[in-house]
C-alpha cells in the first residue's frame, strides 16, 4: 500500500528515528564511556560526548592488565577464547547436522524415522536442563578449562539438522539420479552437489550459530576456572564485581565494545549470503 500523505510521512519518520535512538543510545554511551578516563566516569552527570582517552583505554584493555590493580587476563586472550568457542560451536554444529541430515534424507536404514525423532527430541534438552550430567561427563573426561570442553557439549543441534533436512528435501530426486548415472558415489554427491546447493543455508546458519556460541554465558562460566580460559562475555560480568573497588567503567565499556565487534563483523561479512539463505527457495 502506497500512500502519499505528508502527515503520515512525518509520523513514520518520527517513529523510526525514535526507534533508532532507542537502539543506538546505549551503544553511543558505551562508546563515550570507553573514551574517558577513570575519574571522569565516577562523576555525575555521565558524559554524553566522547573524551580524549579512547586509544589509551583501547591498548590498556586489549593488551594491558585491564583493570588496575588486578592480575586479570588481557582482553585479547578472552576475545580469542570466545572466538575459538563460537567458531567451533558454529562449525561443529553445521558439520554434524549436515551429515545427520544427509543420512536421514538419502539413506534407507532401519529405524530411520526413529533416529530422526530422537534427534528432534533433543530440542527439549538444552544445556540448562542437562547441565549437571553434562558437567559431570566433561569433568570426567578432563575437559574442564579447555576449548573442547567449551564447545563440544554445545555442538549437537536438532534445529540445524531439521533445517538441512528440509533443504535436502527440496532438492529434486533427479539430481541424485543424475549424479548416480554420472558415477558419483554418496560422498562425492554430498561434497559436489549437496554442499554447494546448501551454501547459502550454511552461511545463514553459520551467522545464527556463531552469535549463539558467542553469547554463551552459563556454560563457560561453569567449566572455566582458569582465568586464561574465560570468555569475554563472562569476564564483563566479572569485571563489574571486581572486589572492593568502584567499577572502572571506561575499561568495562571498552571491553563491551570489543565483545560486540566480532558478531557484527560476521553479520556484515555474511549479510548477502545470509539473506539469500533465508529467502531463496529456488533450487
Amino acid at each position: 500500500m502506497v500512500e502519499n500523505r505528508p502527515f503520515l510521512t512525518v509520523i513514520t519518520h518520527a517513529v523510526l528515528v525514535l526507534g533508532v535512538i532507542m537502539i543506538a543510545l546505549p551503544i553511543w554511551i558505551t562508546f563515550v564511556a570507553a573514551s574517558h578516563d577513570e575519574l571522569r566516569m565516577t562523576q555525575a552527570p555521565i558524559p554524553m560526548l566522547p573524551g580524549g582517552h579512547f586509544w589509551e583505554n583501547f591498548t590498556r584493555t586489549l593488551f594491558g592488565s585491564g583493570l588496575a590493580g588486578n592480575e586479570i587476563t588481557p582482553v585479547w586472550r578472552m576475545l580469542l577464547n570466545s572466538l575459538v568457542m563460537a567458531f567451533s560451536i558454529a562449525a561443529g554444529k553445521i558439520v554434524i547436522s549436515l551429515l545427520s541430515a544427509f543420512a536421514i534424507v538419502y539413506f534407507k536404514f532401519p529405524f530411520r524415522m526413529g533416529f530422526f525423532w530422537m534427534i528432534f527430541l533433543t530440542l527439549m534438552l538444552p544445556v540448562e536442563v542437562r547441565i549437571l550430567p553434562t558437567f559431570e561427563v566433561v569433568a570426567n573426561l578432563g575437559l574442564l578449562n579447555s576449548y573442547w570442553g567449551l564447545s563440544v557439549p554445545l555442538i549437537a543441534s536438532a534445529t540445524a539438522t531439521f533445517m538441512f533436512r528440509q533443504v535436502f528435501l527440496t532438492i529434486p530426486d533427479e539430481m541424485l539420479e543424475s549424479a548416480r548415472i554420472d558415477g558419483a558415489g554418496p560422498l562425492r554427491f554430498f561434497w559436489d552437489i549437496l554442499i554447494p546447493l546448501s551454501r547459502t543455508n550454511i552461511a545463514a546458519l553459520f551467522v545464527i550459530l556463531f552469535i549463539y556460541g558467542w553469547n554463551q554465558y552459563l556454560w563457560p562460566l561453569l567449566i572455566t576456572t582458569d582465568s586464561d580460559m574465560t570468555t569475554i562475555v563472562v569476564s564483563i560480568k566479572q569485571m563489574l564485581e571486581a572486589a572492593e573497588q568502584s567499577p572502572q567503567w571506561n575499561i568495562i565499556m571498552m571491553t563491551a565494545m570489543l565483545a560486540m565487534l566480532p558478531p557484527i563483523l560476521v553479520v556484515i561479512a555474511m549479510q548477502k549470503l545470509f539473506v539469500q539463505g533465508l529467502t531463496e527457495t529456488d533450487k
Binding site: P172, E174, M175, E177, S178, A179, R180, I181, D182, G183, A184, R188, D192, I193, P196, L197, R199, D282, K283
Partner: protein, 350 residues
C-alpha cells in the same frame, strides 16, 4: 554392439506388481519409443534399464551382458530427464564434464569431448553460463550434451520434451531424431505423446497397465493395432469403435446397418474405424448425425453419433466442410480399413 534385451521383466512394489513379464529385443542403433498413458509403468521400465529401480524378476541385458545388478554408472548409459536435472551451481561446461571428471579422463580429452558435443548441439556460446541463465530449449540441449559427452552405448530419454512449449517441442523432436541417426546410438525414449512416438521411433512399445500391448513399427501399430487399447491410443483423432455382430463376412451394427468385411470372424465383435478412413459418399451405408463440426482449416472434424444408435463417432474430412449440427452425413467404410476386435478380450481378430 549395444543391443538390449528385456527378458520377462517384472517389477513389484510390495505385493503390487506394476510391470508384468516385459519381453523385448532391441537391436543396435535402434530408436525405441515406449508409449502409454500415465501410470502405465513406462518410466519405471526405463528406470529399470537405467538401474535407478531394481528389477524384481527377469533380466535386462545390454550387449548380451546381464546388467541387473550393476550400478547405473557402470551400465554405460546416459539419461536425459524430464526436468533436465542439471546441476544448478555448475556452468554448462562443468555440467557436461562432471561425469567424465569422475571417470578420471584426462583434462584435454574432457575438453575435446565437451567442445565436440557443444558444436553438435550449437551451445558453444553458453558453455560458461549457469543453467538458470538459459532458456528451456537451451537447458534441454545441455541435458543432451551431458548425455553425448559420455559416449554411452545407450541413450535413455524420460519425457525430455514435456517441459517445452509446443513449437520448440516439434523442433527439438526433429533434432533428437537427427542426432540419434547421426550418432547411431541405441536409444529408448519414454513419452505419453503419441505424435512424438510415431515420429521418433523405429519401433514403438505400447504399454498399458504394466503389459506390453504391442511392439512394432509405427506403421504396423497404426495399420494393425493389436488391441482396442492400442487402436484408441495411437492416431489422432482417435479411432471410432462400435459393437457389431459378425457372420458370413457381414457386420451388423446395433441399428441394423450392415458393413462388408474381409474377416471370417463370427459372433460379437468390436469394429474400429479411424476418422480419416470414413469417406463421404451420399449413398454410403454409414449414416452419422452431426453434433458438432470442428473446422481446423486443413481438415474438419465432425463429431456425431451413428444414426439410430448412441455410439459417438468422429469423422475427419478434408478442407472446410459445410456440415452443421443435426445434419446427417453418409460415409463409405471400406472393408480394408475396418479393424475387427474380439468384443470380450479386446484383441485384434483381423
Amino acid at each position: 554392439m549395444a543391443n538390449i534385451k528385456l527378458d520377462k521383466l517384472t517389477k513389484s512394489y510390495g505385493d503390487t506388481e506394476v510391470l508384468h513379464h516385459i519381453d523385448g529385443q532391441i537391436e543396435h542403433g535402434e530408436f525405441i519409443v515406449i508409449v502409454g498413458p500415465s501410470g502405465c509403468g513406462k518410466s519405471t521400465l526405463l528406470r529399470m534399464v537405467a538401474g535407478l529401480e531394481t528389477v524384481t524378476t527377469g533380466e535386462v541385458s545390454i550387449g548380451d551382458k546381464m546388467i541387473n545388478d550393476l550400478e547405473p554408472a557402470d551400465r554405460d548409459i546416459a539419461m536425459v530427464f524430464q526436468n533436465y536435472a542439471l546441476y544448478p551451481h555448475m556452468s554448462v561446461e562443468q555440467n557436461m564434464a562432471y561425469g567424465l571428471k569422475i571417470r578420471k579422463l584426462p583434462k584435454a580429452e574432457i575438453k575435446r569431448r565437451v567442445e565436440e558435443a557443444a558444436d553438435i548441439l550449437e551451445i558453444r556460446d553458453y558453455l560458461k553460463r549457469k543453467p538458470r541463465q538459459l532458456s528451456g530449449g537451451q537447458r534441454q540441449r545441455v541435458a543432451m550434451g551431458r548425455a553425448i559427452v559420455r559416449d554411452p552405448q545407450v541413450f535413455l530419454f524420460d519425457e525430455p520434451l514435456s517441459n517445452l512449449d509446443a513449437k520448440l517441442r516439434v523442433q527439438m523432436r526433429l533434432e533428437i531424431r537427427k542426432l540419434q541417426r547421426r550418432l547411431g546410438v541405441t536409444s529408448i525414449y519414454v513419452t505419453h505423446d503419441q505424435v512424438e512416438a510415431m515420429t521418433l521411433g523405429d519401433r514403438l512399445m505400447v504399454l498399458n497397465g504394466g503389459y506390453v500391448e504391442q511392439f512394432g513399427t509405427p506403421i504396423e501399430v497404426y495399420e494393425k493395432p493389436a488391441s482396442i487399447f492400442v487402436a484408441g491410443f495411437i492416431g489422432s483423432p482417435s479411432m471410432n469403435f462400435v459393437s457389431a455382430t459378425a457372420a458370413n463376412g457381414v457386420l451388423t451394427l446395433s441399428n441394423g446397418t450392415t458393413l462388408a468385411t474381409n474377416t471370417t470372424a463370427a459372433g460379437a465383435v468390436t469394429v474400429g474405424i479411424r476418422p480419416e478412413h470414413l469417406f463421404p459418399n451420399k449413398d454410403g451405408v454409414l449414416k452419422i448425425e452431426v453434433d458438432l463440426p470442428e473446422k481446423l482449416g486443413a481438415t474438419t472434424l465432425v463429431h456425431g453419433r451413428i444414426s439410430g444408435a448412441e455410439t459417438a463417432f468422429t469423422a475427419s474430412l478434408n478442407g472446410i466442410n459445410a456440415a452443421s449440427t443435426a445434419d446427417v452425413l453418409s460415409f463409405d467404410a471400406p472393408p480394408e480399413f475396418l479393424h475387427i476386435f474380439d468384443a470380450e478380450t479386446g484383441k485384434r481378430i483381423s
